[in-house]
């Protein structure tokens, strides 16, 4: 009787208890395991607020196309349709609007500015797209100079110059993404003079293509798709001056191939990290190359198809995130190319987008600009997201033990986090606890590190049992000798017996 009553009370209690850990983000949170299966994961970032014209108490944005986090955490928005730059301060309030400037005594305005960049000193570079120029303003919004279309022998005279995105490095070199340029980025020196194109992927010799072209007729050859080098669509720069670029012109078959073969080849890479010579140096040591989604339904479903990377933003630690314009997802990768977390989606609720075009990070919060809905969505990290990020950053800074402690906590939230197992394994490996290291590397499906741990473990085992191993070998050797002798004797004996009989 008493037991039943207790049971009843427990039941009532359970029924009354609100559901804990209830996911209310309007998108799926997942990560890919070693085999490319999307595994549900806790939310790493959740939407916290929407910023649009009404929230700032100004005219609504009109087709905004870029945003950028400047120094002292101001957010600069290129409100292209209204031809103005809106600056938002740290408290998400309007700081100021730059809708024109005084150019040598004449009032001048932007026309459809689609990209902007703010230097660490606060100077503003605006890609004034329809005016075919870059406008350079000082931190107060006063005109410094304008840089018109690049001039060079290698640029055709009828070239229409529409700059859409740009960055400026510490030496004031300007790298520009312009519409219809497929030779890479336009590089200008500090004076604004054309230096050259940079960052186009190299055309490599392909035997199969070559053979096909050899046997094809002239008409067929003409019909074959020309190999067009990459056309970049967005750009960011990290503290060391490496350029991060995204492109949407990789053939889908090539992306499929890269996923299938876990390829590290930059030719199939929709996101690249370019060094000053324009060569890709992005590390792609994750299970899959950073291409966004690696497993998706084929046509006919709502969330079918490949990711279409449209913007990239890199943090101080080297962690970078890419924006998938098609599915409205943000994929964050660490410096090795491991996928840390995924969030966002297409839709109409808070945290969804209709046409996301720009992404940046401000005070650990992601800001995503929606072209169609003309608003900015702010995402803030959850405890889980913060832990993952801290664990990666601590590891990069050489604080391995603290990093492992974070990973251990991550595992409490998400026992499917293979990255966390690898992190723990690395910590055990450093502590010479090879058995545990092996266990964790196995859980994390990290074969190369497992091999390393196993090698050391094997040495340890053989070292500890060296006497036993030697003794065993000696016994084997003597045993075999004795056996041989017995056999020989037996044979000899038999022979002798045979002789006697004969």
């Amino acid at each position: 009787m008493r037991a039943r009553r207790i049971l009843a009370i427990v039941f009532i209690f359970v029924l009354l208890c609100p559901a804990v850990a209830h996911a209310d983000e309007p998108y799926s949170n997942y990560n890919y395991d070693f085999w490319g299966t999307p595994i549900p994961a806790p939310a790493a970032y959740v939407p916290s607020r929407i910023i649009d014209g009404r929230a700032l108490d100004i005219d609504n944005f009109n087709k905004p196309s870029d945003l950028f986090t400047g120094p002292d955490n101001r957010l600069y928005v290129a409100d292209s349709g209204n031809s103005r730059i809106v600056v938002i301060n740290e408290n998400w309030e309007l700081d100021r609007i730059i809708d024109g400037f005084d150019k040598n005594g004449v009032r001048d305005t932007f026309r459809n500015p689609q990209g902007l960049f703010v230097t660490p000193t606060g100077e503003i570079y605006v890609a004034d797209t329809d005016n075919s120029r870059i406008v350079h303003l000082d931190p107060d919004g006063k005109f410094i100079r304008e840089i018109g279309p690049p001039v060079s022998d290698i640029i055709p005279a009828d070239f229409k110059y529409y700059p859409t995105a740009l960055v400026v490095d510490k030496a004031n070199r300007i790298y520009i993404v312009a519409q219809g340029v497929n030779q890479g980025l336009i590089e200008l020196d500090h004076n604004g003079d054309f230096v050259g194109y940079t960052g186009a992927s190299k055309v490599k010799f392909n035997l199969i293509d070559y053979t096909w072209k050899m046997i094809a007729t002239d008409e067929q050859r003409e019909r074959m798709v020309l190999f067009v080098p990459t056309e970049y669509n967005n750009i960011d720069i990290d503290n060391d001056g490496f350029l991060y670029v995204t492109t949407g012109t990789i053939a889908l078959e090539d992306i499929d191939y890269a996923i299938r073969t876990r390829s590290k080849d930059d030719r199939y890479a929709p996101v690249r990290k370019l060094n000053p010579t324009g060569t890709d140096v992005l590390r792609r040591n994750g299970y899959f190359p950073p291409v966004g989604d690696v497993s998706f339904r084929s046509r006919g479903y709502a969330e079918a198809g490949h990711s279409q990377l449209y913007d990239v933003c890199v943090e101080d630690s080297g962690i970078y995130s890419v924006l998938d314009k098609k599915k409205g997802r943000i994929f964050t990768y660490d410096t090795d190319g491991n996928l840390l977390y995924v969030f966002g989606g297409i839709g109409n609720r808070l945290g969804n987008f209709r046409d996301p075009v720009a992404l940046d990070i401000i005070n650990d919060q992601f800001v995503v600009l929606d072209f169609n809905m003309a608003q900015i969505t702010v995402f803030e990290p959850t405890e889980y997201g913060r832990l993952v990020k801290e664990a990666v950053e601590l590891h990069l800074n050489g604080k391995y033990d603290e990093s492992a402690a974070r990973w251990e906590q991550v595992l409490k939230y998400n026992a499917n986090c293979e990255l966390a197992y690898i992190g723990m394994g690395k910590a055990y490996l450093r502590k010479d606890d090879f058995r545990n290291a092996m266990k964790y590397f196995k859980l994390g499906n990290k074969r190369d590190y497992y091999s390393k741990a196993f090698d050391l473990y094997r040495q340890e085992v053989i070292g500890d049992n060296f006497g036993l191993v030697v003794a065993g070998l000696v016994v084997l050797y003597i045993g075999s000798r004795v056996l041989k002798r017995i056999r020989v004797r037996k044979k000899a004996g038999l022979k002798a017996m045979g002789k006697v009989e004969a």
Partner: protein, 207 residues
Amino acid sequence: MEVLQSLRYSLYLIFHPFDGFWDLKHEKKGNLKTAMLIVAMVCVTFILRRQLTGFILNEVKLRELNIIVEILSVALPFFLWCVANWCLTTLMDGEGSFKDIVITSAYALIPIILINLPLIVFSNIITLEEAAFYRFFDILAIVWAGVLLFLGTSVVHQYSLTKTFLTSICIVIGMGLIIFIALLFFSLLQQMFSFFYTIYKEVALRL
């Protein structure tokens, strides 16, 4: 007892293929029972290899084992080879009967078992740097078995080496043809079935 003896004979055969295959046929050293046992053992070897190869060298999903698929992936090519072999050699004055072919081909697979079983153990005690040895023996097993299959065909049909070589190529093509015809047959059957089913449905709905 007979089976055991025959298995023991296979150890002699793999090192002396010419004499071995000759005696296998003419001295009746081999029998069908043992041959089937060898094929079954190859199946088991492949399953063990799939499941027990060391973590470092094993990139398959251990949880998703389908024994039927694993068995078919050995048995189907084997019997396809035997059938194609018989079809062609009957036309090309081969002296081996179908039974001879099955026995010979089965005995040729012995190196796969003999090398792969120790290799499974070996794979558990090596690191990634030593994987080259593993790969070497892995390939050795296949090449050895391939050479034995070739020589076996040559001996059992009393072919010259050139003729065996050409026949082997034809056999492989023949295997492809058989698969093609089988697929064609099934696809036609399916279409016929769906055709009659549509007629039935049409009639049923009209009545």
